[in-house]
Amino acid sequence: MELAAALSSVAPVLQAAENAGPALTAPGAAALAVGLAALGAGIAERGIGAAAMGAIAENEDLFGRGLIMTVLPETLVILALVVVFVV
């Protein structure tokens, strides 16, 4: 008896959740994609940046090249940004 009462009180809540659609909307998923790509780029840049700083410390002429190498993974984020316009 009590169980049935409890179920009937929960049921409308479950139905409401179904009506709300997916937990993650398309723009939300796109935002997540960009965020994850940026995180990946950050991890990649950590190593490259450290190595670039080492190289620049030894030879200052390498500044330009070091800078370019360091920001190369940033292209990942730009590609991920395309997703935002596609959805």
Binding site: G47, I48, A50, A51, A52, M53, G54, A55, A57, E58, N59
Partner: protein, 352 residues
């Protein structure tokens, strides 16, 4: 006793710097030029290179070949201290362990200095100020006036116990051999601290392999020297633990028989690298060629490792070895020219 710093290893930064420095070492052309110079020309040449700062700083106190030599030591210490300044985490531990090599050099220099009643100044000039000991500690060691005092000062270092054990031998025999042997053994015994038995084919495993190769080569060298000199010394007493090639009992038997020893090395993993050198050894009278071959085999091996695992301690070790070789080569050239050796003779002394 291990050295630990916080955080993870910063391999990227250190290897980038080390590779750049390695590329700046003297190449064959520089050596070819150096070998044909007179002593004063060598000093002038050095002033225009990497060693400029040290040559100028020491120029007031020393001159000629001594100046070159002290500048080399100073420069070596500067570069290796840099390595320690840059590195963090486990990498720092690995490098510091390996650089204890210079602690052994310093301890031996101090012992010999005290033994021969050398001036405090002279001893201090000959120290290479890198490795685990701080400048202050080295200065205090240089103040010691007796070997007993030295042994007491070194009590809390890795050399403490072995030295204390060897001290009674020194007192009864009056020779330095037991003390120096104890120092070397302490270094090699602690070389592989912190490494344990890593997974095969990881950078740490290769580091271990490299250290084993170094110990093996050291053992081969000692065994051959004892065999050649015909001295009545027990080779097992000079045996370093930790290598892969021999065990202590074997070396006693092998040292008395050069042919067997050569056969043994040829069958080992180092056989291919040392093939040419072994042939030379069989028909040559001197060990110099073979010892140089061992040095360059180790150098090549370290280079191979550093290419296989770019982000590991291997490039750093390879740089340390290469830099040491450079210092030794320049010293050989400078001393050789001073003594009036011919170009060919000096060239056989160079290790590349």
């Amino acid at each position: 006793m291990s050295v630990r710093t916080e955080g993870s290893s910063n391999y990227e930064y250190v290897t980038a710097r080390v590779r750049s420095r390695r590329a700046k070492l003297f190449d064959e052309d520089d050596y070819r030029k150096l070998v044909r110079m007179g002593p004063s020309e060598i000093a002038r040449f050095m002033e225009e290179t990497e060693y400029e700062t040290e040559m100028n700083a020491l120029g007031a106190r020393h001159s000629g070949i001594d100046l070159v030599e002290y500048a080399l030591n100073e420069n070596l210490a500067k570069h290796f201290d840099d390595l320690l300044t840059w590195s963090e985490g486990p990498l720092y531990g690995y490098i510091a362990n390996y650089l204890r090599k210079f602690d052994t050099w310093n301890v031996k220099t101090l012992i010999r200095g005290v033994y021969t009643d050398a001036d405090r100044e002279d001893i201090q000039d000959d120290l290479i100020r890198t490795g685990e000991f701080s400048d202050d500690f080295l200065d205090r060691l240089a103040d010691a006036t007796s070997i007993e005092e030295l042994v007491e000062l070194l009590e809390n270092t890795i050399f403490g116990e072995p030295l204390a054990d060897a001290f009674s031998d020194y007192e009864s025999e009056g020779v330095l051999v037991p003390l120096e042997n104890a120092v070397d053994r302490a270094f090699y015994a602690h070389l592989m601290d912190d490494i344990g038995t890593p997974e095969p084919d990881t950078p740490t495993a290769l580091y271990r392999e490299f250290l084993q190769a170094e110990i093996d080569f050291r053992n081969v060298r000692n065994a051959l020297r004892i065999a050649r000199s015909g001295a009545d010394i027990d080779p097992a007493a000079y045996f370093m633990e930790g290598g892969r090639l021999f065990r202590a009992e074997e070396i006693r038997q092998l040292a008395s028989n050069t042919e067997e020893l050569v056969a043994r090395i040829r069958e080992s993993t180092y056989g291919d690298d040392l093939a040419d050198a072994l042939e030379d050894l069989e028909d040559a009278d001197s060990l110099i060629g073979f010892e140089h071959a061992l040095d360059s085999a180790l150098l090549e091996y370290s280079q191979k490792l550093s290419n296989r695992y770019p982000l590991s301690v291997c490039p750093v070790l390879s740089y340390v070895l290469a830099k040491e070789r450079e210092i030794e080569n320049i010293r050989a050239i400078a001393r050789g020219r001073e003594a009036g050796l011919s170009v060919d003779e000096i060239e056989t002394e160079l290790v590349q």
